[in-house]
C-alpha cells in the first residue's frame, strides 16, 4: 500500500467548502443567479460556477422535475459503476510483485470510484429515489461507450445530451470550433497497457468550468447538469417552504455511513439535505471524472499524490513520472520516476466473454464462477442501497473473492494461443 511517492505534503489544491471568498463573476451573471435563489441557501463558489455554465446551455439541458433528477442520479450510479471493472482488470492483470507503483495509482482511483458509487446512491436515496444496481439494464457490458450512458432521451427529457455536451464544449471554448471532439468514450476490459491508460485518461478528462475547454464532451458536463438540477429544484422547493430531501426515517436509514464504508477512498457522506448533498457530489466531481482543478484558483500546483484528480494520477503512469510540488497541468509531471513495466502483465484477452472459454469446460466454469461472484456482489450492493447498509460488509467479502478468482483466470491461457483468460464481469444468464 505504498509507493515511492513524493514526500512533501502539499495543501489540498481543491477548493474548500464555505466560507468562501466573494465570487469573481461577471456582474450580470452574479446578479442573475443571486436573484434566482433564496438568500437562505448561500452557494459555494464551485456551485455558482457550475450553475453559470449550465445557464449558458439551452433550456432543454435543465432538469425540470424530481423524476428527471432521480433518473440522472441512477445514471450517475451506473457511470460510477461502469468505471470500476476496467480499473479492476488493469489492476488484476499486473503480475504479482511487479509495477507496484502503478498498482498503487490504480488502487487509489479505484477506491474513490467505489466511494463515488456509494455517494451517488446516498444522494439518490436522500431525494427519495430507488437505486438499482443488480438488474441487467443497470449492469454495464463491455466494451461500451460511456457517452451513450449520458445520451438518453428519457433521462433529462431533452433531445440528446450528447448534442448538449457538444454545445457546452463549444460555448466553453468561446465559440471556437473544437478539434478532435469525440462522440465516444470507449471503455473496455483491458489488461494493464498503454491503450488501457489512454482510455482511463479519456474517462477522467477534466472539464473546464467557466474556463477553457479541450472541446471534448465529458462526464463532468453530465454532473454539471445534475448539480444544477439539484440546486434549482431544492431552491424552488425551499421557496415554497419545502425540500426535495426525504424526511422519512425509514428512507434515511438507507444511507451508507462511514461506519459501513472504510478505507482510503475518503469518507462516506450521509446525505440528508442540500449541504450534505453538495458535499457528496463535490467529492465525486473533484476527485473523479474530473473538473479542471484550476477553475477555483489560478496556477494551482499538483503536488499531492493523494489528492490530485484521477486524470493527473493516471497521467503519472503514462508519463512515467510523479507530479511534484509546483507542477501544473501545463508542465506535466516533473517529479520522481514512476517505473512502468508494460511487459510484466498477464496477457488477458480484451473484453473476454464466456464464449471465448467454450472449448474448455473447466475454464468456462471458472469464468462463470467469477460472474457468479460479481452477481453476488451486486446483490449485496443492492441490499446495502435499499435499506440494509450492513450488507456492504458482505459485498466486501465478494470483492476479495473476485480478486482471487480473477488471478486464477489470468494465469490460464485460452486454448493454445498467446492470450490469457480474464474476468468477464458479465451478467449471468445474459450470455446465450
Amino acid at each position: 500500500m505504498l509507493t515511492s511517492k513524493p514526500k512533501n505534503k502539499i495543501k489540498r489544491m481543491l477548493p474548500g467548502d464555505e466560507p468562501e471568498e466573494a465570487p469573481k463573476l461577471r456582474r450580470g451573471a452574479r446578479a442573475a443567479i443571486a436573484e434566482s435563489l433564496p438568500s437562505a441557501l448561500p452557494q459555494p463558489k464551485w456551485v455558482r460556477l457550475i450553475r453559470e455554465d449550465v445557464e449558458r446551455l439551452p433550456e432543454e439541458a435543465r432538469v425540470k422535475n424530481i423524476k428527471q433528477l432521480r433518473k440522472l442520479l441512477r445514471r450517475a450510479i451506473l457511470i460510477e459503476h461502469t468505471t470500476i471493472p476496467p480499473y479492476l482488470c488493469a489492476l488484476y492483470s499486473l503480475q504479482e510483485g511487479t509495477n507496484q507503483e502503478s498498482a498503487e495509482v490504480i488502487k487509489s482511483v479505484l477506491v474513490e470510484e467505489m466511494l463515488h458509487w456509494i455517494l451517488a446512491a446516498n444522494v439518490l436515496n436522500a431525494i427519495g429515489g430507488e437505486p438499482c444496481v443488480n438488474e441487467p439494464r443497470f449492469i454495464p457490458s463491455y466494451p461500451s461507450n460511456l457517452l451513450d450512458l449520458l445520451n438518453t432521451k428519457t433521462d433529462t427529457g431533452v433531445t440528446s445530451l450528447k448534442e448538449l455536451l457538444k454545445v457546452d464544449a463549444l460555448s466553453a471554448s468561446n465559440g471556437k470550433q473544437s478539434n478532435g471532439s469525440t462522440d465516444a468514450i470507449e471503455v473496455g476490459l483491458l489488461r494493464f497497457s498503454e491503450e488501457a491508460i489512454d482510455t482511463f485518461l479519456e474517462i477522467e478528462t477534466p472539464v473546464p468550468v467557466g474556463g477553457e475547454s479541450s472541446g471534448n464532451p465529458t462526464i463532468g458536463t453530465f454532473y454539471k447538469i445534475l448539480i444544477h438540477g439539484l440546486e434549482t429544484l431544492e431552491a424552488e422547493a425551499h421557496a415554497k417552504g419545502k425540500t426535495i430531501f426525504t424526511k422519512d426515517p425509514e428512507r434515511r436509514k438507507r444511507q451508507i455511513t462511514p461506519e459501513h464504508y472504510y478505507g482510503s477512498g475518503g469518507k462516506a457522506v450521509v446525505v440528508t439535505d442540500l449541504h450534505t448533498a453538495r458535499k457528496a457530489l463535490k467529492e465525486i466531481i473533484f476527485q473523479g471524472e474530473g473538473f479542471d482543478p484550476r477553475f477555483f484558483e489560478k496556477d494551482i500546483s499538483i503536488g499531492d499524490y493523494d489528492e490530485i484528480g484521477h486524470f493527473y494520477r493516471f497521467n503519472q503512469i503514462k508519463q512515467g513520472r510523479y507530479y511534484e510540488e509546483g507542477d501544473t497541468p501545463e508542465t506535466g509531471p516533473r517529479g520522481a520516476t514512476l517505473r512502468v513495466d508494460w511487459d510484466e502483465v498477464y496477457q488477458m484477452k480484451p473484453n473476454p466473454t464466456l464464449k471465448d472459454y467454450r472449448h474448455d469446460p473447466d475454464l468456462r466454469a471458472k469464468g462463470k464462477a467469477f460472474n457468479q461472484g460479481y452477481m453476488n456482489l451486486l446483490d449485496k450492493m443492492q441490499k446495502a442501497f435499499t435499506g440494509q447498509p450492513d450488507a456492504l460488509q458482505e459485498a466486501v467479502v465478494y470483492m476479495f473473492e473476485l480478486k482471487y478468482l480473477a488471478g486464477e483466470l489470468l494465469k490460464n491461457p485460452i486454448g493454445a494461443g498467446e492470450l490469457a483468460a480474464g474476468p468477464i464481469f458479465g451478467y449471468l444468464g445474459k450470455t446465450k
Partner: protein, 667 residues
C-alpha cells in the same frame, strides 16, 4: 556516548515501553528508549516500515513450523526463546556438566539444543517471547480481557496465591486507557462474567469499536451449548458463551466517547478525556488506510499481515507523529516544552549501575552492528528516572545481573504462565474452521467461583483454527492421508478421494482450550549463571518450572468439562495426550493416575511482583522498586497473580499507571 540526561530512560520497546514513552513524551518529558532488537524493526517511515514488515511476512510464509516467533529474527546478540526447542527437552538426559553448578539439583539442569532458555525444572517452560521492536505483542492473539475483582484478592477470598496491593477498582481507570490505546473491539453488554457487579465496567461504558463478528463455528457452538447445564465435581454449572473483546479493528462504536489519556499536571493524574471526534480505527504503521478492519487473515499468531491487530509499534508511531505535529505547529520558545522520544535500537541493556544511596546512576548497554556477531560497543544511558520494560524474564535477568533489588530474594521468582489444556474433536458437520481471528468467543463460567478454594480457575476460549494448535493440522492430516494413516482401510489417498477426505475432515475439526491460572510459586523462577551467556556475554535465563497441585487440579477439571461439552455436542473426541511429549504430566483422578499435556500460553508474568511490603515483593503498588527510588519495573513481571485473563491488557493498564507515577515523581 552522549552526556545527555533524559527525564526517563526506558529499556524495551514493547507495549509497556511504548505506552510509557507515549505518555511521558506527551507530557513534555524527554525519553530515551533502548531496544535490543534490530533497527529495521523500529523504522517508522512508510517505505522502510513496510519493507521490514514484508520481510517478516515472507519469513512466516516459508517457515515450516509457524510458531509464534517464526516471522521475527532470532538474533545471536539478543536471542529469543524457541518453543520448538522444547521437543529436545529430556528429563532423563541432562546434557550439561555440573562442575561449576554447585547446587544440589544439578542433575536436572538441561540445556536444550537451539534454545535460549536453560531449563532445570520438573516440567519445561513452554512459552516464548519476542525480542524485536514492538515486543511480544507482535504475535499476541489480541484477546483483551480485564482481570476480575476476585483475582486481586485471591488469598483473602479463597485462601490461595496472594493478594495484590491494589484492587480492581484502583486499576479500572487504567484499563479504560489501555482499551483506548489498543483499540478494543467488543460488546460490553455481552460480558456476563462471574463475580462482577454492575460497576465492573460502569454505567454506559463502551468499547471503542463494536465486537469482532463471532465465527460461524461459534454460532454452531452457542446453538448447542449455551444455557446447558454440566456437572463438575458434583456441582452443576450453566454454560455461558460470550463474545471475546479483542485488540483488532472492527466497526467503530459511535457511542464511544473518549480521546487519548492526558496528563493533568495540577491533579497529578492521567485522565481519559472525552473526545470531540468519533473513534477512528488505527491502521498499519506504513499506511493508515490499511488494516482499518480485521480482514480475516487467520494468522493473528504469529503475524497480522495488514496490522488490523494492535501492536505496540502503532503506539510508538502515534507518539512520534504527535510530537512532530506539535513541533511543526509551535514556534520559538514554546518548542522547549515539547517532549521527545529518542530510540536507540540494537542496544542491549546489560547492567544497571547503582549509587551507594541506592539510586540508579546509569544503565550500561551493549550496542551491536552485526546481529549475528559478537562485537559491541559498551555505552551508557543516564536519566532522572529509569524504567525497565524489557519483559518479565529480561527485567529479572537484568536486575540479577546488576545486583539490584537485593532487599529480598524475590527477583526472578513467582514466574507464572497460564497452563493450557487443549481438547479437540470432529464435529458432525462442516463448521467452517480455519477462518477468522484465532478465537472470537469464550466460556467465562469457570473464571471465578467457590471452586477456587479447591482448584485453579480457568477460561475456556473456543478456537477457530481447527486442530492447528493441538495436532499441527492441516499439515499432519495431509501427511497421514497420503500415507494411509487413519484413513478408511488405511488407504493411501490421492486424487479426488484425497480432496474429499481432507475437505470433510478439516472443515469439521474443532478445538477448544482451557487456560488455567497458575499460582505465584516461590520455586518457579528465572535466574542466571555465569556459565550461560549469549554472544554479547549477556546472561541467558535459567528457568525452573513446575505445576502445583492446585493448577493440576484446575487442569483436570477443565479437561472434564470439555469431555462433557463434547458429549453434549456430539463431538467425536480426538484428544490425545502423548506420554512421549516433554510437557506430559500426571495427576490422580478418581484414584488413578491420568496423563495430560500442558502447553505454554506465552503469558509470562510475576518475576518482580508488586506488594504491600518491601519484604515480600520487589516493587510497591506504584511499580517503583522498593530498593531504588528512581527505578520502575513495568510489565507483566509486576503482576502478583495472573487470574484467567490474557495479561496484555493488564500490562498495558499497569504501564499507564506507572507512567502516571513517574510523571508525578518528575513534577
Amino acid at each position: 556516548m552522549t552526556d545527555k540526561i533524559y527525564d526517563v530512560v526506558i529499556v524495551g520497546a514493547g507495549v509497556a515501553g511504548a505506552v510509557l514513552a507515549k505518555v511521558l513524551s506527551g507530557a513534555g518529558k524527554s525519553v530515551l528508549l533502548l531496544e535490543a532488537g534490530k533497527q529495521a524493526g523500529i523504522e517508522l517511515e512508510a517505505v522502510a516500515a513496510y519493507a521490514n514488515y514484508q520481510s517478516y511476512l515472507n519469513t512466516f510464509y516459508t517457515a515450516s513450523a509457524k510458531v509464534p516467533n517464526s516471522p521475527y529474527p532470532n538474533l545471536k546478540t539478543a536471542p529469543s526463546p524457541d518453543v520448538l526447542a522444547l521437543s529436545n527437552f529430556d528429563v532423563q538426559k541432562p546434557v550439561i556438566e555440573q562442575d561449576d553448578w554447585p547446587k544440589k539439583d544439578d542433575s536436572k539442569l538441561r540445556l536444550n539444543q537451539g534454545s535460549y532458555f536453560v531449563q532445570k525444572g520438573n516440567l519445561p517452560f513452554g512459552s516464548d517471547y519476542a525480542r524485536s521492536p514492538g515486543g511480544t505483542m507482535l504475535h499476541w492473539l489480541g484477546t483483551t480481557l480485564r482481570m476480575l475483582p476476585n483475582d486481586f484478592r485471591l488469598k483473602t477470598t479463597y485462601g490461595h496465591g496472594e493478594d495484590w496491593p491494589i484492587s480492581y477498582e484502583d486499576l479500572k481507570p487504567y484499563y479504560e486507557m489501555a482499551e483506548r490505546e489498543i483499540g478494543v473491539s467488543g460488546a460490553v453488554d455481552e460480558q456476563e462474567l462471574p463475580g462482577i457487579d454492575s460497576n465492573f465496567f460502569g454505567a454506559d461504558y463502551q468499547y471503542p469499536m463494536q465486537k469482532i463478528p463471532q465465527s460461524y463455528l461459534d454460532g454452531k457452538f452457542v446453538e448447542q451449548a449455551k444455557g446447558k447445564t454440566i456437572k463438575v465435581n458434583g456441582v452443576a454449572y450453566q454454560l455461558n458463551v460470550i463474545s471475546t473483546p479483542q485488540g483488532r479493528n472492527s466497526t467503530p462504536n459511535k457511542n464511544y466517547k473518549f480521546s487519548a489519556a492526558q496528563w493533568d499536571a495540577r491533579q497529578k493524574k492521567l485522565k481519559l478525556v472525552p473526545g470531540e471526534e468519533s473513534y477512528q480505527p488505527v491502521g498499519s504503521i506504513w499506511d493508515p488506510h490499511t488494516g482499518q478492519r480485521c480482514e480475516g487473515n487467520a494468522s493473528c499468531v504469529p503475524i497480522c499481515p495488514v496490522q488490523a491487530k494492535y501492536n505496540p509499534l502503532k503506539t510508538i508511531k502515534s507518539a512520534v507523529d504527535k510530537l512532530k505535529e506539535l513541533s511543526d505547529n509551535t514556534t520559538g520558545g514554546g518548542k522547549s516544552s515539547i517532549g521527545s522520544i529518542e530510540i536507540i535500537a540494537q542496544a542491549v541493556a546489560s547492567k544497571i549501575e547503582i549509587e551507594p544511596d541506592g539510586r540508579i546512576k546509569e544503565i550500561k548497554y551493549k550496542q551491536y552492528k552485526n546481529p549475528d556477531g559478537s562485537d559491541y560497543v559498551l555505552k551508557t544511558a543516564r536519566g532522572r528516572i529509569y524504567a525497565l520494560a524489557a519483559h518479565s524474564v529480561e527485567n529479572a535477568k537484568l536486575l540479577l545481573a546488576s545486583g539490584a533489588c537485593k532487599g529480598n530474594d524475590h527477583v526472578g521468582r513467582h514466574l507464572m504462565d497460564h497452563t493450557c489444556g487443549l481438547a479437540w474433536g470432529l464435529m458432525p458437520k462442516d463448521i467452517g474452521g480455519y477462518r477468522g481471528p484465532g478465537s472470537t468467543s469464550n466460556i467465562p463460567t469457570f473464571r471465578d467461583g467457590a471452586f477456587r478454594k479447591e482448584h485453579s480457575a480457568f477460561i475456556m476460549p473456543i478456537d477457530n483454527w481447527g486442530w492447528n494448535w493441538p495436532a499441527l493440522s492441516p499439515f499432519s492430516d495431509f501427511i497421514n492421508a497420503v500415507n494411509g494413516q487413519g484413513t478408511p482401510q488405511n488407504e493411501q489417498l490421492f486424487g479426488k478421494k484425497l480432496r474429499g477426505y481432507l475437505g470433510d475432515r478439516l472443515s469439521r475439526q474443532f478445538n477448544m482450550h482451557f487456560e488455567v491460572e497458575q499460582m505465584p510459586d516461590y520455586n518457579n523462577r528465572v535466574t542466571i549463571h555465569p556459565r550461560f551467556t549469549d554472544a554479547l556475554g549477556n546472561f541467558r535465563p535459567v528457568i525452573t518450572y513446575d505445576l502445583s497441585d492446585y493448577s493440576r487440579a484446575g487442569f483436570v477439571a477443565g479437561r472434564q468439562i470439555t469431555k462433557e461439552i463434547f458429549k453434549l455436542m456430539s463431538v467425536e473426541d480426538a484428544t490425545n495426550y502423548d506420554p512421549g511429549n516433554t510437557s506430559y504430566f500426571t495427576y490422580e483422578v478418581d484414584g488413578k493416575e491420568e496423563g495430560f499435556v500442558t502447553n505454554g500460553a506465552g503469558h509470562l508474568a510475576g518475576t518482580h511482583r508488586m506488594g504491600k511490603s518491601a519484604t515480600d515483593s520487589v516493587v510497591n503498588s506504584r511499580q517503583q522498586a522498593w530498593d531504588h527510588k528512581n527505578l520502575y519495573l513495568v510489565g507483566c513481571g509486576s503482576m502478583v497473580t495472573i487470574g484467567t485473563s490474557n495479561p496484555s491488557l493488564t500490562m498495558t493498564a499497569l504501564a499507564f499507571s506507572a507512567a502516571e507515577s513517574i510523571l508525578s515523581d518528575l513534577s
